[in-house]
């Protein structure tokens, strides 16, 4: 078991990248959202400067998650 939030964030980011390259959007979405969640947790553990940087990072991941969700919705509509 990983021992830190930073490790978990990285694990989910790697998983998201892998699933995205395999075009498994459902899994990619799940891991991107989890990565964003852990980034927010990291922000909570840091001082102000670093925390704000992590919050920006989290919003970036949420943007990606939104894009993946949009792709999933389009696919569902077509199917």
């Amino acid at each position: 078991m990983s021992s830190s939030v930073a490790d978990k964030k990285r694990e989910h980011e790697i998983a998201a990248e892998q699933f995205l390259s395999q075009k498994d959007y459902e899994q990619a979405f799940f891991h991107t959202a989890r990565a964003a969640e852990f980034t927010l947790e990291l922000a909570q553990l840091c001082d102000r400067e670093q925390g704000l940087a992590y919050i920006d990072d989290a919003h970036g991941l949420l943007d990606v998650a939104e894009e993946i969700k949009a792709i999933m919705s389009k696919k569902t509509e077509k199917g």
């Binding site: 078991m1 990983s2 021992s3 830190s4 939030v5 978990k8 959202a33 989890r34 964003a36 969640e37 852990f38 927010l40 947790e41 922000a43 909570q44 553990l45 102000r48 925390g51 704000l52 919050i55 989290a58 919003h59 949420l62 998650a65 939104e66 969700k69």
Partner: protein
């Protein structure tokens, strides 16, 4: 129809039939209540298993985690099956109820017709019938209320029919434990590896909200919105 029923009047026979029908509906409603209670009990057990699994995870007891998660998942499947059966039963009950409404309309119209041309002595029995119809109407309202309440309470089950796999549950569990441990480590200023969480999240500590907290909160809101709902 029983033999003794041959010697009673048509009105009395109808009345008995109606009473029997109402009794059957009440019995059906009681059965639904029993199922709802059972589902609530199973949910409580499921939540307890989740907490147990989390405790094992904190202690690093992998086998115990797997065993408890299996029980958790089995419980979730039983709940899902029970929900499915209850849904089917509710639909049947509703259809029967609607059929009864049709019959009630027809009878009420007949009743009105009878009142217009009836001699005064038959008015009493007609009014009695109207009284029974009013009771039926109240029963209908109760049925609708029950269906509405149960639908609202179980919207989460209706939303997602798939139950997470053991691996997915394990990810959720590990994530929860890691977050708890890291937050506690930051609070007491100790390395994460040395921290053991044995307190509930709600009783851990309280930090006054800062600008950073507010931004983090906004991030969580965006995340929840994106996910539709949280666990």
């Amino acid at each position: 129809m029983a033999l003794k029923d041959l010697f009673i009047s048509k009105t009395e026979r109808e009345k008995r039939k109606r009473l029997a029908r109402r009794k059957a509906f009440r019995q059906a409603e009681r059965a639904m209540d029993t199922v709802n209670t059972e589902i609530a009990r199973m949910r409580a057990k499921r939540d307890k298993l989740w907490d147990e699994a989390k405790a094992y995870k904190r202690d690093g007891q992998k086998l115990a985690v797997q065993r408890t998660l299996k029980s958790y998942r089995a419980q979730e499947m039983h709940i899902s099956n029970m929900e499915m059966k209850r849904w089917g039963f509710e639909q049947i009950l509703l259809k029967m109820r609607l059929a009864e409404t049709d019959q009630a309309f027809a009878s009420a119209l007949q009743g009105l017709n009878a009142v217009q041309f009836a001699p005064p002595e038959s008015l009493e029995s007609t009014l009695e019938e109207i009284g029974l119809k009013a009771d039926d109407f109240e029963d209908n309202n109760n049925i609708w209320r029950t269906i509405y309440d149960s639908e609202m309470a179980n919207a989460e089950i209706a939303n997602g029919s798939s139950i997470p796999s053991i691996d997915e549950l394990d990810i959720f569990l590990e994530d929860e434990v890691v977050v708890e441990r890291s937050e506690l480590a930051a609070t007491i200023n100790q390395p994460v590896e040395q921290v053991k969480t044995n307190t509930s999240p709600s009783s851990r500590y309280e930090i006054p909200p800062s600008e950073l907290d507010q931004k983090i909160g906004a991030g969580h809101i965006r995340l929840k919105k994106l996910l539709g709902e949280g666990r």
